[in-house]
Subunit: 620 residues, 2 copies
């Protein structure tokens, strides 16, 4: 079969509903909020290269280039859809600054020009290649949006310098970057420019990784940055989760571009390791704040969940690439899990503030500990912030939401895969595909495909969906729903082909595999792609004591503030008031006290002030 190619977001217009609203908030509020916070903190000023010891401007950090690069990429993705003079002007100024301050030899990095110019390419963990990677992604997006190629040309000189220093002369102080990103960026650039030098450099960094002697110290720190094994020998997700999934994304890209079966096998094994053993129900990964890292299988604590917003995004990136390599809906299932839950929880409903980490449980009581006594104890965050010192997540969210269309479909000459459900119009290869749906409010989806007669349409049946009904404009259509690993296979028999999909969407109680200690004996509520939580603000008892009644009744109400339903279920708490700290269960007279439990979408937690929150509940 011919390879599938991603239909990129510029071919698709999201026309309404849940994601259209998120894109509007992103375009009208978030992009400016991030820009303003970055301006307040000196990140834009840093591109003027005015800092020196004693200067009255903030000292740049060595990852500030990447923060602004992601903002630039976000702006480009927004400009792709519609003009905005203000955004264009501010972005253009940064691009001009980059060209103005580029070294004669092509090098560009703020920190290693104004703060440590003598230490260029000496410290693997100083993010120079990571920053270049994000600049490349921004330049590609900028070219696609504006047609202006000067940004790409600026970076091309830098890339030539990198090739000289790393590959030809091998004079750099390290071989592979301490934080992956440049690999996937180079392959993205290769796809645009078709110049093999970009792919070759990406493959150089991929091929060298893990070959270094792990005893050599800092530049080969091992598992933390996936340098413990050559990439083709890696089979499990290890180390810092964002670094990891950026690497795995590049490996998948490389497998698609080169047909490298060993890379593909590694990617498949690693993906399954994540999806089967190391992923929160929200799609969050990197469960430990120690190293922001993947840990051991099934180690998914809820209250201390790190699950960085960037890590969720990076998992969607990896899964989105895998859905081109294997025709299996498990990849799109993970994309969906991430975008409706662990990624979206990273941003407030008003689009102005962000979570870096995304816990699955909050107990405010724990936060009343006296820090002078409980020295050094780390209590996870309970409220979103507008900017962080390490502010990778905010512009990652803005670029992701602006380009979420990238995850919707893939195709080749014979096949069209529809991975996600939202209202859109897509036009490519002489075809026009439209989707109408209120998803995730309900599971009814109307699809119209024009100009695709003779091709085969594959429509994903989500993993959460028990039964789905299909009605086509050709009653005699030969339906094979569910045949192709989670995709309904539908021959397109007409030039103007329509399809109604009716996915049964109802609240489901989900359990975790019995190896997950944190969720033992517990259930989580889902509705379609949405994971739910309850917040203390809606309840006058400790959430952890409540047992939901799996056979009880419930009410469902559409909540416009969430573009999704909220649910109230019956449950109970033990009638142990007055029983002291420990009591014989046989002495418990009286029935458990009935309570109502109000569930809201997980992505919407912590939008009403600090509150207890819980995803996993005891059940009866």
């Amino acid at each position: 079969m011919e390879d599938l190619q991603k239909i990129s977001f510029d071919k698709i217009e999201i026309t309404g509903g849940f994601w259209k609203r998120r894109q509007e908030i992103n375009r009208n509020t978030t992009i400016f909020s991030v820009e303003n916070r970055f301006r307040d903190t000196g990140r834009f000023e840093a591109f003027k290269f005015n800092w020196k010891e004693g200067a009255d401007v903030p000292k740049p950090h060595f990852f500030w280039d990447s923060d602004i690069a992601k903002w630039l990429e976000s702006v480009a993705c927004i400009l792709q859809r519609e003009k905005d003079e203000s955004l264009y002007r501010d972005a253009r100024e940064v691009i001009d600054d980059i060209a103005a301050h580029q070294d004669e030899n092509g090098y560009f990095n703020i920190y290693h020009t104004v703060v440590e110019p003598d230490n260029r390419f000496k410290d693997r963990d100083h993010h120079e290649l990571y920053c270049l990677g994000h600049l490349i992604e921004a330049a590609v997006a900028w070219f696609n949006a504006t047609g202006e190629s000067d940004f790409l040309e600026t970076l091309d000189r830098y890339i030539d310098y990198v090739i000289r220093v790393f590959v030809v002369e091998r004079s750099a102080g390290f071989v592979t970057p301490g934080h992956e990103e440049i690999e996937l960026a180079l392959i993205k650039l290769y796809r645009l420019k078709k110049d093999k030098k970009y792919l070759d450099l990406a493959m150089f960094f991929l091929n060298e990784r893990g070959k270094c002697d792990p005893t050599l110290g800092n530049w080969a720190r091992g598992m933390y940055n996936q340098s413990h094994l050559p990439v083709r020998e890696q089979r499990t997700a290890e180390g810092h989760s964002v670094r990891a999934c950026y690497l795995y994304s590049a490996m998948a890209d490389a497998a698609l571009e080169t047909g490298d079966e060993e890379l593909l096998e590694a990617c498949k094994a690693i993906f399954d390791d994540i999806a089967d053993k190391k992923m929160y129900i929200t799609g969050g990964v990197g469960s430990s704040h120690h190293g922001e890292a993947f840990t051991v299988p099934y180690d998914l604590p809820n209250a201390t969940a790190y699950a960085e917003t960037c890590a969720a995004i990076s998992l969607a990136m990896f899964a989105g690439r895998m859905q081109l390599l294997e025709r299996d809906a498990k990849y799109a299932d993970v994309v969906e899990r991430v975008i409706y839950n662990g990624m979206l929880s990273g941003i407030s409903l008003d689009g102005k503030s962000f979570f870096y980490e995304n816990p699955l449980e909050i107990r405010l009581q724990d936060r009343t500990k006296d820090v002078s006594v409980n020295d050094g104890e780390r209590l996870p965050i309970t409220q979103r912030l507008e900017v962080f010192w390490c502010s990778c997540c905010p512009p990652n969210v803005t670029r992701f939401i602006a380009s979420i269309g990238d995850y919707l479909m893939s195709a080749n000459d014979d096949e069209i895969y529809l991975h996600q459900f939202m209202p859109y119009t897509a036009a490519f290869d002489g075809m026009k595909i439209t989707m109408e749906t209120e998803y995730p409010v309900n599971g009814n989806v109307k699809i119209r495909v024009r100009g695709a007669k003779g091709k085969t349409l594959f429509v994903r049946i989500p993993g959460w969906c028990g039964t789905a009904g299909f009605t086509t404009s050709r009653p005699d259509c030969d339906l094979h729903p569910g045949e192709a690993k989670g995709y309904a296979k539908l021959p397109v028999a007409e030039d103007d082909f329509t399809l109604d999909v009716d996915m049964q969407m109802e609240p489901l109680w989900i359990a975790a595999n019995h190896n997950v200690a944190a969720d033992a004996g517990k259930v989580a509520l889902t509705y379609g792609p949405l994971v739910y939580c309850a917040e203390g603000i809606d309840h006058d008892f400790p959430l952890f004591a409540a047992k939901v009644d799996l056979r009880g009744s419930y009410t469902k109400t559409f909540a416009p503030e969430y573009d999704a339903p909220v649910f109230v279920f019956t449950g109970s708490i033990p009638a142990d008031d007055g029983k002291g700290l420990y009591y014989n269960v046989a002495d418990l007279n009286g029935e458990p006290k009935p309570v109502n439990l109000r569930f809201i979408p997980y992505f919407a937690f912590a939008n009403r002030g600090e509150s207890d929150m819980q995803v996993w509940f005891l059940c009866q």
Copy 2:
């Protein structure tokens, strides 16, 4: 009513059973094991004052005096019962060393003589007064055991120096010690010598505590060392748990000696705060390793439980004092909870190695995390050690077990209170009291009281005990069991009075109050005073996934290695193999897989190598 006085351990001989065996192990193995480890690490050598910069002997630490002092006290408690030339000689040598190296002004401290002689009494956290307190306790025990008073006289000169520096001249660099201990030691000495200067100095340290300006820095660090409020205003257990309970013990002692009602009220409130909100089912306290401290109410995590062995001991010390102040069995209940569980788990069955911290749950899987990735993550201990750098717990266990008789009874001219159950013979005030029992194997206890006609006997009915039957040698005896706050009140009608108590002892499933998040939906097994746990070594499934069947059958077998029964209960684990990481509970076909769960006494965990361990279980 007249005050109750403790009947001290030297009046009581434990004649058999569970505790006799622990005392034999302590006397035959542990005391020598601790001595040898302390010798290996240079703690004895330090008393020769040979260390100087560059010397080939270990540099003493500022709490080494207290380690050896507790060993000395343990030796004295053992010698109280029987002669041992070797122990006597080794202890005597240390006592002579102390006298030989005492300053002319009376001061004695190894570290602040050989390492920092210029910084005496300058740093509140350098444990000088804490070390003196333990030396005082050792000297009192030594005098009681041997009749030799020179050790007491040596320390008396030091105490006079402390009075001069702290009380008269107020020239010390701080007012109250950073680690309490000297207060209770001084009151113990006061009780022996009846010299009011000791009580006055104890009251000085108690009265000054918490009066200091908490902004003054190091010497008034606030809650961590209970300096946040004057002691009479304290109502909750706060800060470092050993420091705290040593203070509360001294407050209780002072309340008994002075009749200070405000101190008594503070002690009662603090005790209830611990017993009702901050104590593990094992009697462990100080749930957080951050500050080894009490935290907020109901914060009792199992896997990260700190619950230092010394903290359990200190809680027993506090509760043992409270049982003299209030005629309420809740205090003796806590003593019992501690001695059979959270204290005893601190030492291995062979008496050679120790836990500093005592977790209630171990998951070895968590320990496979790569520490180079999960930098800085703290994984609680899984195996006992023979010696620690900070080795306060081992000699605290040896002195506690050697003197456990201190907790058995209290009396005044009219009343005799029997708090704990074990075979013993006690002789005091012309009376002889004997107890015969196999407790905690069963709840049958035979009591014989001679020479107490006309007095009232109070026998504790343990909190765990639903029903207890009483049969006396005088069938017409006017029994009032349960009248006196958990004690059966029994008039002693004969000179030779016998009493059979039949406490119904059966395995009980205990729940924690619904405010305890860590135990929500779970139960723990107890049998009499013993808390039980299960270990991974006996099971081929993850313990956390297992649900015990509360209505299931069980087998009970006496295990001589534990002097206690072990139980096997039926339970189940979910039939979710092959269901993936998350699954719809409605899709779970098949019954849960039945399993057997083997429970052993908690105190005996980690005696068969590293293993998973769990106290609290899901139930069905």
